[in-house]
């Protein structure tokens, strides 16, 4: 990633109590590295009044205390100035974490009930779907949606599926695909992704997620179909 890209970002308001710094327009590992690096920077050296940080694929959101910010001389502008000067500070770029999770998967069957439909709609046989899904080493781009839900990318373009129009109940360990993403549901919840398999890999420990943004994930197929 060149120096020009590193410097380009855009800041926009997410309502009156959060701002988002967008570091790029697309999903790619370099932009996400930058997000995670800046997240670490703001985490280690917090700005007064900032209560929470939400890193995502290509952006970092700062949730702030409106009481603190509104009291500063020029309100939000003061905060944005501080953020901008922080972003001028050089940082060591976070490259993907060395943490690799090998996640065993049972594809299809009762707990992977959308596999057949994906196969029919895509015109790809089951074995090939498993191969395409288990082949890459994925990156955890971000955690979001519900505690510990890890957004993994990128899925092979041949497996791109739209989300379901109506969310369905998910069980913990359900492995879904949607768009160019794959992910694992860590707990019972409604969800709209297409479920192709299931894992017993631990995802939460005392309510806290095991997978972290920047970690890598490799799926290990346990069954042949």
């Amino acid at each position: 990633m060149n120096a020009e890209n590193l410097k380009s970002y855009e800041i926009y308001a997410l309502g009156d109590s959060a701002i988002t710094i967008e570091f790029g327009k697309y999903i790619n590992p370099e932009t996400n590295d930058l997000v995670i690096s800046r997240f670490n920077q703001f985490q280690e050296n917090p700005i007064k009044g900032v209560l929470d940080l939400i890193p995502s694929y290509h952006s970092l959101t700062l949730c702030y205390d409106l009481n603190v910010v509104a009291k500063q001389k020029s309100g939000l502008h003061s905060l944005i100035d501080q953020v901008k000067s922080r972003l001028e500070e050089p940082i060591e770029l976070h490259t993907h974490s060395t943490q690799l999770h090998e996640v065993p998967v049972v594809y299809g069957g009762k707990n992977g009930s959308d596999l057949l439909r994906v196969s029919q709609e895509k015109g790809i046989d089951l074995q090939e779907i498993i191969r395409l899904h288990a082949e890459p080493t994925y990156r955890v781009y971000m955690l979001g949606f519900i505690p510990g839900f890890a957004y993994l990318g990128e899925l092979h373009a041949k497996l791109t599926m739209p989300r379901k129009s109506t969310p369905q109940p998910m069980i913990p360990g359900s492995i879904g695909i949607a768009g160019l993403q794959t992910g694992i549901y860590p707990s019972f919840s409604p969800g709209g992704w297409n479920i192709i398999g299931h894992t017993d890999y631990p995802l939460l420990e005392n309510g806290m997620p095991i997978l972290q943004a920047g970690d890598r994930v490799k799926f290990i197929p346990l069954n042949q179909l």
Partner: protein, 310 residues
Amino acid sequence: MSLIIHKAGILDTIQHFGVKGLQSKGIRPGGVMDLFSASIANALVGNKLNEDLLEIHFPACEIIFTKSCLISIVGAHFSAKLNEKYLPLNRPILIPTNGKLQFVAPKSGRIVYLAIQGGLLGQGRLIKNSEIAFKKKPKLNTSSLHIFPWSADVHWQKYSPEIHVIQGREWERLNEESQRQFCCKPFKLSHHADRMGYRLQHQPFHTRTKEEIISSAVNFGTIQLLPNGQTIVLMADHQTTGGYPRIAHVISADLPKLAQKSPGDEVIFHLTDQETAEKEWVAQQKHIRQIQNISQLKLNEFFQKNSNQL
């Protein structure tokens, strides 16, 4: 030194004021839906403004107090009754030992807060027959109900349909006609309304582009445009990130008002800016702190004067 949930309500909880600092792990902040009413409730009983308290919907729970204590009831008007006597909103109230509190009829609003001097222990849903301990031992002991002669001014709570919003990142995706409709047309709140989000009912909005957006953060008050052209306002239990266009955000000062809307109620959105949002918020917070200061003075005065009788 506790209260007992004699009968459970549909959606009653012990609420905190939001967990901060864990959204990077996908853990939502949660917390009270109507920050204004909840803060006033705490102020009236001399608590810190963000003390844990009960958040009650209708049909509401029935509560028995095993020990006399100082409470306040602020927010929706559900016709609160203690042992057959109606209780007013927005005042400190001394509840006698074994007092039984009921909410018998919803008159206005959607959520009511019950604060107890010193706070409560525990978290989560209020389940039938569960016992919720007081954090601190009440200093008083009374066998009769006492309603204090002062009340908090809660004019911020007036249930007008006007809700102010700031444009969202994807506002420009709405076509001109939909932008016009969004800003002035009254919408009804749908029945799909819970602590996670309130859906609105309107003609489907149309966008200039169908291009998908990359998932990123959302906030309490974020108004998302769903694929079918309908909208949802994310509320206290919102998820941390989302992939739907964020067309606008309700300003913090108007979230309490929105939280109190019930299915079928009207809302009318008005665009405003950050500066106004900050001013409104500061004014509201100032008002809450004034009530807190006056309450503290008056409570101290009362308890000094009556320390012998209580």
